[in-house]
Symmetry: C2
Subunit: 380 residues, 2 copies
C-alpha cells in the first residue's frame, strides 16, 4: 500500500460496467445476444472528443491499466509505468480508455458469465473469438462514449495486434496506431508454446472439457503449468541468467528427491504459475491463446501485408525490444517494411533491453523517451 498515491499516478479509479444489448455477430458465425464490457478511464475527454486513447490488453491483461482501486492496493494497474500525468500516455492531455476484452475473466462477458439462453455458466460453450471481434466490440464502446475517432489505439503483444486490426477495419476512426512488441502473426514456435499451454490445461482431469465450474472443480495444476510455459517465453535467456543464474535455494545441492526445488528459478516459476492459476479463468486462457494463434493480419489480403496496410489511413509507431524472442525485433521490422512499402508514415524504435517480451511493461529510459515524444506529437 502506498503511504499516499504518487504524484504521477492517475489516482483512485473505479471500473465501469456497460451492457450492450444489440447482438454481436462474431467471426466464428455465432452471435452474442448481449454482453457486458468493463472498462476504466483516466483523464478527461475534451469537448471535441479528439483526445481519446484506447488501450488494448495482452493475453492475461485486463481493464485495470493504471492507478489504484483503493488505498489498500499493493500495486497499481499493469501499465502504470506508462499511463499517468506527465507519463508517455499523458493523462493531462489524453482521455484514456482501458477495457477488459470480451471473453475475459475480469468482468466483461466471458466463459465465467451466465449464458442468458441457458441460465448456466457459458464455460466451454463460450464462442471462440478472434481479434476482429474485440475490435468490433471496442468500436461499440467508442460509440457509447461518443468517440468518433481515437487519437490513438495502443497495445503491446496481443494488444498491438488489436491496434493493427483497428487500422484496417476502421481506418477513419484511428489517427495513430501504436504497436509494441507485436507481430503480423505467430510463428510455428509461438503456436507450439500456446498449444503446449492449452494441452496442459485440457489434460488436467479437473478441466472436465471446460465445464469445471459446473462440476465444482478447477484445473489449477494445468493452468499453473500453462503459465510457467508462458512465463519462460516472456523473459530473455540473458535476463533470467542475470536475475537467477544457477543460484541454489539452499546455497548448495540438496540432492533430495520429493518435490525437490534446488534452483531459485524453479521456485520463482512455481510461484508465478501457482499465483496466476488462482486468479485467472482456464477457458479464458484457452480463448486468448486461440485468438493469438488465429491472428494473421494479411491472411485475407493474399498474405500480403503491404496490401493489408494500404487500407490504413493513420500514422504508426512500432517498438520492439532487443531480447524479445517471443516477438523478436525481426517481427516488428516486417511490420515496418510493409508500412514503408505501402507508403504509410511509420516511426520505429528498437529498444535495448534484457527483459525479453516483458520489456514492454518495464520502466526503461529510452523506451519512455521514444514513447513520450511520439505521443506528444499527437494533436488533440
Amino acid at each position: 500500500m502506498p503511504e499516499q498515491l504518487p504524484a504521477d499516478s492517475v489516482g483512485l479509479v473505479t471500473p465501469i460496467t456497460q451492457t450492450f444489448s444489440e447482438p454481436l455477430l462474431l467471426a466464428c458465425g455465432r452471435t452474442l445476444p448481449s454482453y457486458d464490457l468493463v472498462y476504466e478511464t483516466y483523464g478527461e475527454l475534451n469537448a471535441q472528443a479528439s483526445n481519446a486513447v484506447l488501450i488494448c490488453h495482452a493475453l492475461s491483461g485486463h481493464h485495470h491499466a493504471a492507478g489504484y482501486h483503493s488505498l489498500d492496493d499493493r500495486k497499481p494497474g499493469w501499465w502504470d509505468n506508462y499511463i499517468g500525468p506527465g507519463k508517455a500516455i499523458d493523462t493531462n492531455r489524453f482521455f484514456v480508455v482501458s477495457l477488459n476484452n470480451l471473453g475475459g475473466c475480469h468482468g466483461s462477458t466471458g466463459p465465467v458469465s451466465i449464458d442468458p439462453a441457458t441460465g448456466k455458466v457459458y464455460g466451454a460453450d463460450f464462442p471462440l473469438l478472434r481479434v476482429r471481434d474485440w475490435v468490433s466490440s471496442q468500436a461499440r464502446l467508442a460509440d457509447h462514449l461518443g468517440i468518433t475517432q481515437w487519437a490513438a489505439v495502443v497495445g503491446g503483444s496481443l494488444g498491438g495486434m488489436q491496434a493493427m486490426r483497428w487500422a484496417l477495419e476502421y481506418p477513419e476512426r484511428i489517427r495513430h496506431c501504436i504497436v509494441i512488441a507485436s507481430a503480423l502473426n505467430l510463428t510455428a514456435q509461438n503456436i507450439a508454446f500456446n498449444e503446449t499451454a492449452r494441452r496442459a490445461i485440457t489434460s488436467d482431469p479437473d478441466f472436465h472439457d471446460g465445464d469445471y465450474l459446473a462440476k465444482g472443480t478447477y484445473p489449477k495444476r494445468g493452468l499453473a503449468l500453462a503459465r510457467m510455459v508462458g512465463h519462460i517465453t516472456y523473459l530473455s535467456d540473458d535476463g533470467m541468467d542475470e536475475k537467477f543464474g544457477r543460484e541454489l535455494r539452499a546455497g548448495s545441492f540438496v540432492l533430495g528427491s520429493d518435490e525437490l526445488v534446488e534452483f531459485q528459478i524453479e521456485s520463482y516459476l512455481r510461484y508465478q504459475g501457482d499465483s496466476f492459476s488462482g486468479s485467472f479463468d482456464a477457458n479464458t486462457y484457452i480463448l486468448m491463446t486461440r485468438a493469438l494463434d488465429y491472428f494473421d493480419l494479411s491472411r485475407e489480403y493474399n498474405d500480403n501485408p503491404v496490401s493489408a496496410f494500404s487500407h490504413s489511413q493513420c500514422r504508426f509507431l512500432v517498438v520492439s525490444f532487443s531480447s524479445d524472442w517471443r516477438f523478436s525485433p525481426q517481427r516488428s521490422r516486417e511490420i515496418v517494411d510493409a508500412l514503408i512499402t505501402a507508403g504509410k508514415p511509420v516511426s520505429y524504435a528498437e529498444i535495448e533491453s534484457k527483459h525479453g517480451h516483458d520489456a514492454f511493461l518495464v520502466p526503461d529510459q529510452r523506451y519512455r523517451q521514444v514513447f513520450s515524444r511520439y505521443m506528444n506529437t499527437i494533436e488533440v
Copy 2:
C-alpha cells in the same frame, strides 16, 4: 523395414546385459548394491584395445545407437547417420561401445528395476544421479571390456557433458573428447524448461509421487506434455516455420472448440508427446533432467572452467549448430575459450543448420566432413 540392410550399416546387433555386483557409491551419498548395464558394440576391439570409442547418450537416448535389432525394424539406432562402416565413427576402424545409462528405462538398472533390498520396484526411491555417476559406471564397463583407455569418448548434448566429465575424472583413460551441441552447464532458461517438464509429470494425478507402477497407473498425460515442451526447444524457430509454418490441417480455419487442432504444428507436437509417453519412464525423465540441471563442469574448480580443463590430457573436438538455442554456439565457444586458455588442443566447428538442437542427429554434409576428418586423425 529395409528390404535388405544398407551397406553402410553395422547390420543386426544384439544388446548385452552385464551385471556389476560391486556396490557403487553415488554422488548423492547413497550406494547401489549392484546394477545392470545394457550395451551394444559395433566393430571389433583390436589386439591392443586401443580403438575403443564410447558413445554417451542424451536425455531420452539409450544403448541402441546404430544398426538394427531385427529385419523387421522400421528404423535403425538413433545415431546411425554417424556410426557405421565408412561413417564419421567408422566401425571399420573403431570398436564402438554404446550403453544405456544407469537410471535409464531401456534395460539398465533404473526406476523401473526391482530394488533388491525391498523386492519392489524402485520407482521414486531410485537415487538421484549425477553425470559423474554415469562416468563411474561407464569406467567399470570399460574395465569389464578390457579397455584401459578410450580412443574417444563422444556425446551430444547431455552426452557431451559426460564426455567432458570423463576428461576431468579419468584424464589418463581418454585420448579424445568429442563434445557436440553441449555446454559447461545449463542456463536459468534451460533449467526453467526442465522444471516445467518435471512439473507437468509430477502434477499428473496418475504420478502418485512417483509410485505409479506400484499403483498400476502411469502419468501419460504429464509425460506427453513434458515431451512437448522439450521438443519445442530441440527445434529452431526458423526450422519449425520451414517445416510447418502456419499451415492449417483443414486448409482453412475450422473455428470449432472441443479439442480443436487447427495448425499442423499442433498435431505434430501432440503426436510427439503421445508417442514418447508410451515408451519412456516418467521417473527416468525426471532423473535425467535433474542430472542436466546439476551438471556444472567447473563448480568444484571455483567456477573456473580453465582450472577444470587444466586436469585434462586429451584432445578435444567441439561442434555447435547455428540455430541451436538450447545449447547455442555461444555456449560451445565458452568451452573452446576455456580449453585454449588452459593450453589444451581443441578443434571447433560451428555448423550452419536449421535443425536447432536436434541438428546433432541429422544428416548434414559439413558436419559429417568435420566429424569424419577429426575421427580419422585418431591413431588406433
